[in-house]
């Protein structure tokens, strides 16, 4: 296996930042396969890729991309390199054809080679019918394919793709994967950076990173092989699976655990050390069987194991008590419709969420998922139908309803230059808490989320995990009965995500009702029920297991949530390529 990129003791620091973005990384990128550059946000993936492309100069260490020094021999390297930055590097007000023409000129492709490349790439990406459409009006998946086509124009000898699957739904993701695999099979070295571990698992070679350090380099199977026998699944559980998970996580032999539909999945500290189902009180029917180890298990193992099962927050919280009549429909959407001009973003969406349930909204980008979510939490007035929370109509009494619901937006929406305590005080004030009640609540939140040592630190300077805790604390200031979470854990490392879900599970047991949107298919498994949105319509509702069954063929249920998602979307007529992505 020849080497496409060689990194030797590479360190990179950005001016004014104390911690290095990359810390003494040595690795190589083999030719002929896809190398996954894997890690959560802030791991150093983009920095590493920019160093390989010669867009940044490393503070220390040497890099050889295609045998060239990316800085000193930059001009030669660029002629042989294909680099797709995040957001695909497209000119949104230029059409598909104009983008291709531009990059063909920039890469000096002329004459017959040019028309041949266009023909080949338009066929490869299936973009031919859209050549005169502005790039800004393409769906996420099509933008991604166009970005790839622009990069492939020069027949590069090395392909660097920075988070190509962000903002792209599973169907387009699968499509892109197929295309890039084809290129790699033809001998092209490819580096694919991602924060999705399930995606990384499909790469023959990975570089696993966290906090600027390289944790592992090699085949993912070798890493998951180390976990062999340590992953198990418990099914046919009687009683509450959330409390069971909590008990399991507190058991000494369990390192990590998640909910998978009606089952729970555990990772053990030692393969020989199986948990006792009776001691866990899983019920008489319960079975325990080995599960296929996953890369995420190994990652959590390297990071030192997941958090415990107890949520301090949930322990302190007073249970939510609702009148009997309310419990069946804490959140209710009836025939919700939203039109933007003549574009119908959501049509006739209806569902009910009973108390103590986690309801997830899933769907491709631009399918109407966010629109529906916003109408239900009162941020967007519907054009037709109505939504209510705790029986309060959001159109007429939005303010009253908001007083009873907590909202955590994407990317946490904290005030970065305010301190932890100032953020808490602001949100407490916004929810109408004042005086002694406010002070008591802030003290409680600082204590519960272990934020006391960081109380005077600006929110921007917090580590991601603490930021997430602070955002959750801010959303829970007023003890809401309903919690809305918009993509709460994107870009977050798996341990931080576990901790987040431990809190959510704890809250749900106290009677809080949760509505969540997510891109992570395994996160969807935490939900009691899922609503699948496509083309502005709710095409399926049910428990994760029901959806997997519905998606299955010939009596076999779909193996993963992702497969179920793809099958159900395709069956409903595929993703609508004509829709613009907001």
């Amino acid at each position: 296996m020849s080497v496409a990129v060689e990194l030797t003791r590479v360190t990179h620091r950005f001016p004014g930042v104390e911690a290095p973005a990359l810390d003494d990384v040595s690795a190589s990128v083999p030719a002929g396969v896809i190398t996954g550059l894997v890690g959560p946000d802030g791991a150093g993936k983009t920095t590493l890729m920019r160093l390989m492309a010669g867009l940044l100069k490393a503070s220390a260490g040497t890099i050889r991309s295609l045998g060239l020094d990316p800085i000193g021999e930059g001009a030669q390297l660029r002629a042989r390199l294909g680099y797709m930055p995040q957001k695909f590097g497209l000119y949104e007000d230029l059409t598909v054809g104009e983008n291709l023409e531009l990059y063909a000129d920039l890469r000096d492709i002329t004459g017959e080679a040019r028309s041949a490349s266009f023909a080949r790439l338009l066929a490869f990406t299936k973009l031919r019918p859209f050549t005169s459409r502005p790039a800004g009006k393409l769906s996420g998946g099509m933008k991604q394919k166009l970005g790839l086509a622009c990069v492939l124009l020069g027949n590069p000898e090395l392909l660097l793709l920075d988070e190509p699957s962000v903002g792209v739904d599973p169907i387009s993701r699968r499509e892109l994967w197929r295309m890039v695999n084809e290129l790699a099979a033809g001998g092209m070295p490819v580096v694919w950076s991602t924060s999705y571990l399930d995606e990384a698992e499909r790469c023959p070679h990975i570089l696993l990173m966290s906090g600027g350090k390289l944790l592992y380099a090699g085949a993912p199977q070798e890493l998951t092989g180390r976990m062999s026998g340590r992953s198990v699944q418990i099914g046919s559980i009687s009683g509450n699976r959330r409390t069971l998970l909590q008990r399991a996580l507190n058991a000494a032999e369990v390192m990590d655990g998640v909910i998978q539909g009606s089952r729970i999945r555990l990772v053990l500290r030692d393969a020989a050390w199986a948990p006792d189902l009776a001691a866990l009180d899983a019920g008489p029917e319960a079975w325990l069987r080995p599960a296929e180890p996953r890369l995420e298990d190994a990652f959590i193992d390297i990071l030192g194991g997941g958090p415990g099962g107890e949520s301090e927050l949930a322990r302190l919280m007073t249970p939510v008590v609702l009148p009997e009549a309310r419990r069946a429909a804490v959140i209710e959407a009836v025939n919700l419709t939203k039109r933007f001009g003549d574009f119908v973003a959501a049509a006739g969406v209806g569902f009910r969420v009973p108390q103590g349930e986690i309801f997830g909204l899933l769907g491709p980008n631009g399918a109407g998922k966010s629109t529906t979510f916003r109408m239900v939490c009162g941020l967007l007035p519907p054009s037709g139908g109505h939504a209510s929370v705790l029986g309060i109509d959001l159109r007429t009494h939005a303010a009253a309803a908001r007083q009873r619901l907590g909202y955590m937006a994407q990317k946490f929406s904290l005030y970065g230059n305010l301190t932890v305590e100032q953020n808490l005080r602001f949100f407490a004030g916004a929810y109408g808490l004042s005086g002694a009640r406010q002070a008591a609540k802030i003290a409680e939140m600082l204590e519960t989320f272990a934020l006391t040592p960081h109380r005077a630190a600006p929110a921007d300077e917090l580590a991601l995990g603490f930021k997430q805790r602070l955002a959750l604390a801010c959303a829970l200031m007023h003890d809401p009965a309903v919690l809305f979470l918009d993509e709460p854990t994107s870009g977050v490392d798996p341990v931080t995500r576990r901790e987040f879900w431990t809190h959510i599970n704890g809250l749900v047991q106290k009677g809080v009702t949760v509505m969540v949107t997510t891109h992570f298919m395994d996160e969807a498994e935490y939900c009691d029920r899922i609503g699948l949105v496509n083309r502005g319509r709710l095409i399926a509702t049910g428990t994760p297991d029901e959806l997997k069954q519905a998606a299955g063929r010939d009596g076999h249920e779909a193996a993963t949530m992702e497969e179920a998602f793809i099958a159900l979307i395709e069956r409903s007529g595929g993703e609508d390529e004509g829709r613009a992505v907001a």
Partner: protein
């Protein structure tokens, strides 16, 4: 290692085409380049008028004699003054404070008596509203004018020649009708070129940074020179088209005379656009954020071009330190050359000075932004 050619025409042409398509498809560029100039010209051409006509002034005469009455009548007969007779000084002070009148004239009770003396000096007190200095000086000058004319006519009536010690005949050269529009329209062209050059271009590189396209460009074979030229050339062309539009509107709609040569106008606009574009590109290269770049362009280019260029406030009446600063403002020289070209036609010494400074400043800003344009992200 053989370095690549600094400019590949194919790449440059492709980049310029891309930039032009973006300009054409972005309504805000068209708005700034073509609609805004027309609006500004209309506002500056019609809205701001430094000429005073029919200014209201108060008159208080404590002398009931015939001389005083005749002088008051002469004031009232002036085409530029609208007189209001008052009985007491308090009345006039009040009206002045309220802005009802712009100034007033007081004739003392011994006005006629003093005029009858052989040395014939009678004081006329003129109070003006100093809060609007321009109008105040107009008022003073107009009343002075009426006074001199009246004295001359009075002497003629008595069959005596009137010979004031110095005879001042004011004649405005270059702008014979003393129309402020002729002076303001060229100035506003300079302002419009500043907006196109600095404000519009300050956004373009920052936009590429924000949208991530700069990263994609830098990973191709594009050279620094191509990158810079591809930003400068389309916006230069846009500025030139806009300038010709302004010229057409100024001459045909506002009737502002253009006495100089078109070739010189193109040369001076080119030089000025050079510094404005250079500044705009420098800001967006350094700041990489559209909002910050636009703010900086506003402060570094637009405000000085308005306040310190002699366009609105006369440089000669500024305090010395501020006056010193104006020597560094490219717009000052551009406005001076525009006013020369429009109103005088050709004044070699002024135009040479302007040429030298504008060339130097264009070279400075373009050079600096070339220096700050990097092939890397750090």
């Amino acid at each position: 290692m053989s370095g690549p050619a600094p400019v590949s025409w194919r790449r440059l042409r492709a980049l310029c085409l891309k930039e032009s398509l973006q300009i054409v498809r972005d309504p805000s560029s068209i708005l700034i380049a073509f609609v805004l100039p027309i609006l500004l010209l209309i506002i500056f051409g019609y809205g701001i008028n430094l000429d005073a006509s029919r200014i209201r002034v108060g008159v208080l005469s404590d002398d009931r004699g015939p001389e005083a009455t005749r002088f008051v009548a002469a004031l009232g007969a002036s085409p530029v003054l609208e007189t209001h007779l008052a009985r007491a000084r308090g009345e006039l002070d009040h009206a002045l404070a309220a802005g009802d009148i712009r100034g007033y004239v007081v004739l003392q009770s011994d006005f006629g008596a003093r005029l009858a003396r052989p040395d014939a000096t009678a004081p006329v007190q003129v109070i003006t509203d100093g809060s609007e200095p321009n109008t105040a000086s107009f008022v003073a000058a107009y009343i002075q004018g009426v006074w001199s004319t009246w004295l001359a006519e009075r002497a003629a009536d008595r069959g005596r020649g009137f010979a004031p010690p110095v005879d001042v005949i004011a004649r405005s050269w270059f702008n014979p009708a003393a129309l402020s529009r002729n002076f303001i329209v060229p100035g506003s062209i300079a302002l419009i070129m500043t907006i196109i050059g600095a404000l519009l271009t300050s956004l373009v590189i920052a936009r590429e940074w924000e949208r991530g396209t700069m990263e994609a460009l830098l990973s191709t074979a594009v050279t620094r020179t191509e990158l810079l030229l591809s930003k400068v050339l389309p916006y230069y062309a846009l500025g030139m088209v806009s300038m010709l539009l302004c010229l057409t509107v100024a001459v045909w709609v506002f009737g502002v005379p253009f006495r100089g040569s078109l070739a010189l106008l193109l040369i001076y606009t080119t030089l000025f656009l050079g510094s404005a574009l250079g500044l705009g590109l420098l800001l967006s290269t350094v700041l990489r954020n559209q909002f910050n770049a636009a703010q900086a362009a506003l402060n570094a280019a637009f405000l000085p071009a308005t306040m310190l260029s002699g366009f609105v406030f006369e440089i000669a009446s500024m305090p010395a330190p501020v006056r010193a600063v104006t020597y560094l403002i490219p717009a000052r020289y551009f406005i001076s050359s525009l006013q020369t070209l429009f109103q005088a036609g050709f004044v070699g010494r002024i135009l040479l000075d302007d040429f030298l400074f504008l060339t130097a400043s264009a070279a400075f800003f373009l050079g600096l932004s070339a220096l700050r344009t990097r092939r890397r992200l750090d």
